[in-house]
């Protein structure tokens, strides 16, 4: 069973990396980009009996720093 964990900076937390990407996109001539925020995707291959709360625990204890980051877990039905 697979799960995907998306870790993103909380709204309001400064994201210098996103800003740099934004500037680079503008430098390449892409107009219309209002804002860029960079985050992480972590893919987990898990035992079938792993519960949602187990994954949430993993996120809170290690995968995300909840002082500055939010996380979202996706568990594709057929994965």
């Amino acid at each position: 069973m697979k799960a995907r964990v998306f870790v993103t900076l909380k709204p309001g937390v400064l994201d210098p990396q996103g800003k740099a990407i934004h500037h680079a996109l503008e430098g390449l001539g892409f107009g219309g980009v209002n804002n860029v925020r960079a985050g992480k995707l972590i893919e987990l291959d898990l035992a079938d009996d792993t519960s949602d709360s187990d994954i949430e625990d993993m996120c809170r204890k290690l995968l995300a720093n909840t002082v500055i980051e939010n996380f979202r877990v996706e568990r594709p039905e057929n994965a």
């Binding site: 937390v13 400064l14 210098p16 990396q17 740099a20 204890k61 290690l62 995968l63 720093n65 002082v67 500055i68």
Partner: protein, 221 residues
């Protein structure tokens, strides 16, 4: 004073820190590997060195904060044993939750490696008694993730309770309110981005870091 330097894979200031501690305390610190689960008996100062523990994987300090020895460090900190975290050590302390906030990528994305001016904000701590209030000292920084951030409420609380130990006296990395070093509520844990162990001999260009270790020696022993 019986000090211990915690060594993680990727630490690279552990020996500098050991030299500083030995020079000031007259006793070589125990070098404690991250995989250990106990600190030497009677340890009365724990030092977390700079470097790039675990290659800064996931987030700076994140993996080190979950290593076996850190459980013993958190337990000792809870008993009031002084803990000094420098640079990556500061990042480890925020990741364990011993200190609030987080250290993010420098605002201009650059690795900053140079001596910086620091204002000593609070001299009534275990770590800063060797300095004069409001004094400006010069200590090197060398980091990519030194941009201290916390929510406004946390920052206000740090400031109103005298827990900002050091503040940058110049723009360095975009840190909120120019914070360079903070202490915990109980006053026995200090995290700072600048490297006092790199400013202890005239050949280093500054000896301002020396007084931090001397102050500690006085207050701890």
């Amino acid at each position: 004073m019986k000090s211990a330097v915690i060594v993680f894979p990727g630490s690279n200031c552990d020996r500098d820190l050991a030299v500083a501690l030995e020079q000031v305390t007259g006793r070589a610190p125990a070098m404690v590997w991250h995989g250990e689960s106990n600190l030497p008996d009677g340890t009365d100062l724990i030092a977390l060195p700079g470097g790039f523990s675990y290659g800064d994987y996931l987030r700076s300090g994140a993996m080190a904060a979950r290593s076996p020895i850190m459980r013993a460090v958190v337990e000792a900190a809870g008993r009031g044993v002084p803990v000094l975290g420098i640079c990556n050590g500061f990042q480890v302390l925020t990741e364990t939750g011993l200190l609030p906030g987080a250290l993010m990528r420098n605002a201009r994305l650059n690795f900053v490696s140079r001596p910086v001016a620091l204002k000593v904000e609070n001299t009534q701590t275990l770590f800063t008694s060797g300095y004069n209030a409001g004094e400006v000292i010069h200590i090197p920084v060398a980091h990519h993730d030194g941009n201290y951030q916390a929510d406004a409420e946390t920052l206000d609380k740090l400031e109103s309770t005298g827990r900002v130990a050091f503040r940058y006296a110049e723009e360095v990395n975009g840190s909120a309110r120019s914070i360079a070093g903070i202490i915990n509520e109980a006053g026995n844990v200090l995290g700072m981005m600048p490297h006092p162990e790199r400013a202890i001999e005239p050949a280093h260009g500054s000896t301002d870091g020396l007084r931090l270790f001397q102050g500690l020696l006085e207050t701890v022993s």
